[in-house]
Symmetry: C2
Subunit: 114 residues, 2 copies
DNA sequence: TTAACATATGAATGTTGTATCATATGTATG
DNA sequence: CATACATATGATACAACATTCATATGTTAA
């Protein structure tokens, strides 16, 4: 027996337009990367200049270990790259898309002055 | 005593370019909203049509309560709006910026075919 | 006004994720 | 090669968050 309101039609149509579950998960995972203040700060810093771990650590006044862990996450996700220079590891933005996405969020905040 | 490598200059410059801590936190909080598969799915569904809680629940095959909780989060963040219609609550996208941000992430995924 | 429908919400639970601590690895320099 | 420097990493502890369950609130219809 059908309920009072039957949504099956709308549902079928919406479902047909929905991207695959895998893609939706990937999308969530991507945004999750930007959903942490520390990582946002790191990325923002890298907008200005490539930096070694030590510099980021001093810059954000956080433990070197915490920064290293976050950099690993960003590197695994290929949002940042890394090269050796002497005994330092220099990190840099791997992708200009990162800037675009963050800027987009920035605009949303300023425009809606939330 | 200075260490081998002194970063103070770069640091000072980067710091001067960094947005306020508050803004960076807000930015993180904003992206956090997109960093959950359920919420992404809800938002994506609302791209297609405004929907009542019940429909979203059926659509995503998730409990009504879980959907309600997530909708509350999205509503508090003003990403979706809501209106009464009979005994249903119809939710809809409150802001086209949402679409832009998600599309941006989508592009990143497809372009880098991560 | 009682019953069924639609949604919201508080509490509890389980999971995820971040920072810390301790320590290992890698590199340069004396 | 021993030491200091620079970073990475595993384990732990803790905090944040999502889902579930039970139930409350609100709405319509008989």
């Amino acid at each position: 027996m059908a309920q009072k309101h039957d949504h099956s039609e709308v549902i079928r149509e919406v479902v047909s337009q929905l991207p695959s579950d895998e893609l939706l998960c990937d999308l969530g995972d991507l945004f999750k990367l930007f959903g942490d203040t520390t990582r946002i700060k790191i990325l923002y810093s890298l907008f200005e200049s490539e930096l070694c771990v030590c510099a980021i650590s001093e810059l954000l006044k956080m433990e070197q270990s915490a920064i290293s862990h976050q950099l690993k996450i960003l590197k695994d996700a290929k949002l940042v790259g890394c090269r050796r220079q002497g005994r330092q590891n220099i990190y840099f933005l791997a992708d200009d898309h990162v800037r675009t996405i963050i800027d987009q969020g920035f605009e949303h905040l300023t425009e809606t002055d939330e």
